[in-house]
Point group: C2
């Protein structure tokens, strides 16, 4: 079950990295209640609005790659065999060409994603991303 | 059901405003998997660690008041009579004495909170807060 959640979560980043808006659209629940919080921005509500924001971001990105670390997954109800939702919290370490939207400046972000289950399929209901200050490893030795 | 979620969500802000750490502790699930993301900070995991961070923040706050706007609630499974979890996304408009932690600078934050149900009781499983740029209304007329 956790593997299916992780697969959907990874596909989300594959969609951004490859600029695949169809893949991105397939990963979100189609509902006016879905929510996406881009870094430093107010929440977007509704699948159409959320997907439009990703289309704009993807159009601005020449090259981007995500290295995910500290991935924590919880399924709800906690301990249930057939969970209905899953929370994924992770750190996005971002490598880009520097021409991306201001949303991706800073090099790292913390992201909380809530996915819901439909059979074996997991899709995004909400995502909240925010920049985080990551210490420069080079500064430790100086 | 939504009323019970809202009551727990509001109690969380009451706890901060009144510096009531016992109330704050009563509002979180006691589990190593709980998560709290303070603005610009990496995620904290585990109830003990999360509550310690609130104790530190409360100790730094002389006066603070939250005005919540744009509150959106979804319960999961969507449409179920007996949901197991609830997502609350809102804007925190913050009034403080200016001596608070850097976590509260900026005057407004977007917050996504995930609560889980135990009977009629709802408690926090995760919270992700991040600063947001709110336009100054005074600038519109100038």
């Amino acid at each position: 079950m956790t593997r299916d959640v992780l697969a959907a979560h990874r596909a989300f980043y594959d969609a951004i990295e490859t600029g695949d808006l169809d893949l991105m659209a397939s990963l979100w629940v189609d509902d006016p209640g879905v929510t996406c919080v881009h870094p430093a921005a107010p929440p977007l509500h509704g699948t159409e609005t959320v997907l439009r924001s990703w289309a704009v971001l993807m159009a601005q990105i020449e090259y981007i790659q995500f290295f995910l670390t500290d991935i924590e997954i919880t399924t709800f109800p906690v301990g249930a065999d057939q969970p209905s939702s899953a929370l994924v919290v992770c750190t996005e370490n971002i490598l880009s060409d520097g021409e991306t939207s201001e949303s991706f400046t800073g090099g790292a972000a913390i992201c909380s994603s809530l996915l819901v289950r439909d059979g074996r399929r997991w899709r995004f209901w909400s995502r909240h991303a925010s920049p985080v200050a990551i210490p420069d490893p080079g500064e430790e030795g100086s």
